[in-house]
Amino acid sequence: MKILVAVKRVADPDNLNKIKLSAQGKVDTTGLEPKASPYDDYALETALRLTENGTNTKARLGEVVVVTFGPKEAEQMLRAMLGTGADRAIRIDATDDVLDGDLVARGLKGIVDKEKPDLVLLGYQQAESESNEVGQMLAEYLGWPQATFAGRITTTDDKVLLVERETDGATAHVKVTLPAVVTVIDKIVKPKSVQSKHTPTTHNYADGVRFAALMAIMAAKKKPLAEQKLADLAPDATLKVRYANAELPPKRAAGVKVKDVKELVTKLKTEAKVV
């Protein structure tokens, strides 16, 4: 199976409460360490699990290509992903201010047309914009089926995926014939969430994503990393949405500490009047 994984570099998702606002009213993430958006790391982990035998992960049994839209600095993230196990990487040279989700989806369509993967995997949303849109738009532009919010994927033949979609309070089971677009949530990296045809059903993966061994990082320096121009992939650079200024939400002031349960109940009754 050949899988394309779309990834995005974001400011450290665990410290987004430290963002500031610039004088121009834009979000300023200076000082936060750039990282891959966590759901994209999960998408890569999913792709690797689908293209290997979990009991012998050294042998690659498929191809995983990671692709990002970003400046030169984003190549560091791609290199790390090559170290983790991706076979090739592509960087489409573009910065966030010239992109919207729709243009990213159209650019990805350009890549898919060239690469012809069987499957495109994405995080269901990225940690900064949290728009949750690129996978669905890409599926429409490709005329492919989509399975969003995937928490579990099983395949016995690499042609059909059985996907468990986690929707509000329910799990929808769908069978999707490839090629398709699938977006993943965090549950996809649990020990039994991905069952490929190559891995014995008894195998348990470690919980979470794998980390690159130092040797692998060194070896990954030789793996191909190509650059492409956005204009070659999506000739029309018109944006459909334009982000204006941002503001910081009103800070919730820390309230009071109560000394005991009795005081808590009294305050909830007489002051907050919620019980």
Binding site: P13, E130, M137, P145, T177, D186
Partner: protein
Amino acid sequence: MAGTLVIAELEGGKSRSTTFSAIAFAKQVGGSFAILAIGPGAANAAKDLAGFGAAKVIAVDDPAVKDYVVERFAPTVAKIVKDGGFDTVAVTASSFGKDLAPRLAAKLGAGYAPDINAVTVDGGKRLYRRPTYAGNALSWLEIATPIQIVSVRQTEFPAATASGGASPVETGAYAGPDAAASQVEFVKVEVGKSERPDLGEARVVVSGGRSLKEQFKQVLEPLADALGAAVGASRAACDAGYAAPELQVGQTGRTVAPQLYVAVGISGAIQHIAGMKGSKVIVAINKDPDAPIFQISDYGLVQDLFVAVPELVKELKAQS
């Protein structure tokens, strides 16, 4: 007819509560609006939706839309938008809305404003506001296309209530599937069962963290009963199997904004806070006085939860 098309979300032949938030959005932006009910029991649901002041309610029922498969739903919605000349399509940002709206946007060549929590009109221009950066920023955006697709955050658009009157109900035609629908087979849907109020709608939510361990239910349920609350959980509690996965509150779980949120043994990671900081009153019970959850709590109690929660249940009964 310009105006807004609201897409109802149906379940068991009725509108889910999410539908009423999308209607609230349509009423707020003004102008005329219509409601589309698509799926099994649409005709019935349409009757209930006729009392909200819509110019009309369109019902589409067909064996092809028996189960929700976006590749079958989206083409019909797109055709109704085009034929009706609507300039705005609104849906609530539930899993249903978030799955459907972007595909619809691409189909219609329309811009999409996801998960908005406010809308304003400024000199004829409509601006949408949405939480970004795990709720640490509010970003304003504008859509540049003639048709605008919007999903609204349920907790920020209080459910519209029926205003009386009877909108005409029309039967809409199923417009056929996307070609990609032949690659999708709907197998089944499993619905998490709970006798408690739904997390998204509850007036009170009691949430527990991983520190509750195997006693999650035993400790929290009496408190939830005493408060008539829905039960939520941190991801760590869900991951460890102490709480059912559908109870997860936060960035990857449900977004809640009840009148009262009680966080029991939850540290307050930013991904958890992103899903509950819109709550009116927040109470935290945690034995660590420096737990980040206290920074956003109105009332903090530093105590061992295994002592505090049973006491709280007693005290609530005593003071009632």
